[in-house]
């Protein structure tokens, strides 16, 4: 052993977070990060221990490259570095702002994705259109359906066949910079009012029909998932009224919120947790009038070029030890009780990440029909072009 004692000593959670932030700020290299945290060594060791990292996928040739389609700020970059160190497969990450965009790419063909992250309400459509395959669970020994919370995971299973396995769940709420906005924002009704008054020119909505139209519907007292033409017409009025006052229509709102270019935005749990962690003045609230509760899944496109690597990464991400690190980094709540047990108390007690059940009651899961409804699709495109 030539490694010094210091390098082999286990790292504390505080120090890990410190080092992670240093890595994120770019003040240390990835190599330094993996070395000092022991992640590099750990993954190198894990890779050689069949008992810990047992996967039939590894019997196959994984190649040297794969590609994943996911959402902004949704993974710990160290995860992919560690995966590469363990398997030699480099992961190319593509981020998207809406499920519709992912569907459009898959429908057009030639995406090259080996793994992607669709949301609950889209999976039945992907399966129906033949864009995803039933997963071969024998290649995912680290996935354990018995430890998953069925409330969040049932939409991955269609007619008893598992098409997708859960990544995490979350909510769509409102992130508000309380240094800039004094009026309390507690509902979507408030959101659209403050967006044209106190947050004039500083509010953001998603570039995403489900949440942008859905939350406008909720602000009017309608269902998040409505496809009734007269209700959609009312929602369009709300959106067209707010549009000239918006800072931007973009689902990657963290950069603008961090730079305080934007003061208020539609926000997913994980982004809310990340923003609040780094800038405590940014608060995350759930609409008391409603909004979205969701779960994201991992699925493998039928057209994937490197399925062995897709399965290998998926199995890697399903390992509770790895899932915990992802969870701590991105802040989205887990569906897996094995992961829940490993989480530090400050994460499980974080009300942004694990809100009280009462706050979740008014929220709705997205409905499959919103993905393909031509009325909602056209409304969103029209709103953006107006």
């Amino acid at each position: 052993m030539t490694k010094s004692h210091r390098e082999n000593a286990p790292i504390t959670a505080d120090r890990l977070t410190d080092e992670l932030m240093r890595l994120k700020r770019g003040s240390v290299t990835r190599r330094h990060f993996l070395g000092v945290t022991g992640l590099g060594l750990a993954t190198a060791v894990l890779a050689r221990q069949p008992g810990l990292f047992n996967s039939t996928a590894f019997a196959e040739d994984l190649g040297t490259q794969m590609s994943i389609a996911t959402w902004p700020n949704y993974h710990d970059p160290a995860t992919f570095e560690a995966f590469k160190a363990a398997t030699g497969v480099a992961v190319e990450v593509n981020v998207f702002g809406s499920n519709e965009e992912m569907l459009a790419k898959l429908q057009a063909g030639g995406t090259g994705w080996d793994l992607f992250v669709p949301t609950n309400y889209t999976i039945s459509t992907y399966a129906k259109l033949g864009l995803i395959d039933e997963l071969d669970l024998s290649k995912l020994p680290n996935y354990d359906p018995s430890t998953e919370n069925p409330r969040f995971t049932n939409e991955g299973i269609i007619d008893g066949k598992t098409y997708a396995v859960p990544k995490n769940w979350g909510t769509t709420g409102i992130a508000v910079n309380s240094d800039k906005i004094k009026k309390p924002v507690t509902s979507w009704k408030d959101f659209f009012e403050v967006a044209i008054t106190e947050a004039d020119g500083r509010a953001m909505v998603h570039d995403y029909q489900l949440t942008t139209i859905g939350n406008a519907l909720v602000s009017l007292g309608y269902s998040f998932n409505s496809i009734k033409p007269e209700e959609l017409a009312k929602a369009e009025e709300v959106l067209l009224k707010v549009k000239p006052h918006l800072y931007a229509i973009n689902s990657d709102y963290q950069p603008a919120m961090r730079a305080t270019d934007a003061w208020m935005t539609m926000c997913w749990t994980n982004d809310g947790a990340q923003l609040n962690r780094d800038m405590p003045e940014i608060q995350f609230v759930l609409g008391k009038d409603g909004g979205e509760i969701w779960s994201d899944f991992y699925a493998i496109p039928k057209s994937a070029a490197n399925k062995p690597a897709g399965y290998a990464l998926l199995n890697y991400l399903m390992t509770p030890e790895n899932a915990v690190k992802e969870h701590v980094a991105n802040g989205a709540p887990t569906t897996d009780s094995r992961v829940l047990k490993l989480l530090p108390a400050e994460v499980t007690s974080n009300k942004i990440v694990y809100p009280d059940e009462a706050a979740l009651t008014p929220l709705e899961f997205g409905a499959a029909v919103t993905l393909t409804d031509p009325g909602r699709a056209e409304l969103m495109a029209r709103f953006k072009a107006a």
Partner: protein, 288 residues
Amino acid sequence: MRAAMNTKRNLVTAALVAPAAAWLFVFLVLPFVAMLVFAFGERAPEGGYQAAFTFAQFANLPTRATAFWNTLLLAPAGALLCLVVAYPTAYHLAVKANPRYRLILVSLVVVPFWTSLLVRTYAWMYILGSRGIPNLLAMVGIEDVRLLNTPGAVLLGIVYGYLPLMIMPIYVSLEKLDRRLLEASADLGAKPVSTFFGVTLPLSLPGVMTGVALVTILLLGEYLIPQLLGGGKVFFIGNALVDLFLQSRNWPFGSAIAVTLVAVVVVVLMVAMRIAWRVAGTRQVDLV
């Protein structure tokens, strides 16, 4: 004998033209035909295209009037703004600059082109964002200025991005300028200002026309700059098209808009070029 030579010449011509013709056929003509067919079709239930024959997509065009209008307004406006900035630069490079440094100065105009427009536009996002210029303004007491995601930011990005394309043709036309004409003008008693407007400017008009046409045409299809510097709100027709194909998966409507855009561009440019060349032509005739 002559017939044989003609055949040979035709074969050579065919061989020379074939690669470009094949390229244009596969990547321009065929896609355009596909687009035309799609434009009369219907959106499939889950998105995409399904065969039909309907004018519904064209009837829906007015819903994108704002995007068309923005494009038709901002593209020429951007080109003219480019021109205002580019002309003095090109004039200095071609006429005033020390010939010894001219090559270096011209390279300075071209070098930014070696970096992707995407990267350079991202840089502007940081310069115009709260931590950039507004931060500096806040230091001198001007608070909460918002520059990013405004029409002004889009115009700025356009001028910055397309400036070299305007400078180069004007520079070339000014550089070819026969200096003896300027001397003759001065000999005949014209002041420098009237020499510029009577001789230099008219003779550089072909370069100006080329630059304006080049930049306008490229701007009509612009997507990136309004997306990044306009926050997805200052909307060009290019952005509307991207949404229809990549979000709402309405290929027929997207095709109808694309076909209309091509038609509008062709008409606008034909009219504009005809007027422009007529003006340029008469001015040159006046001179002689």
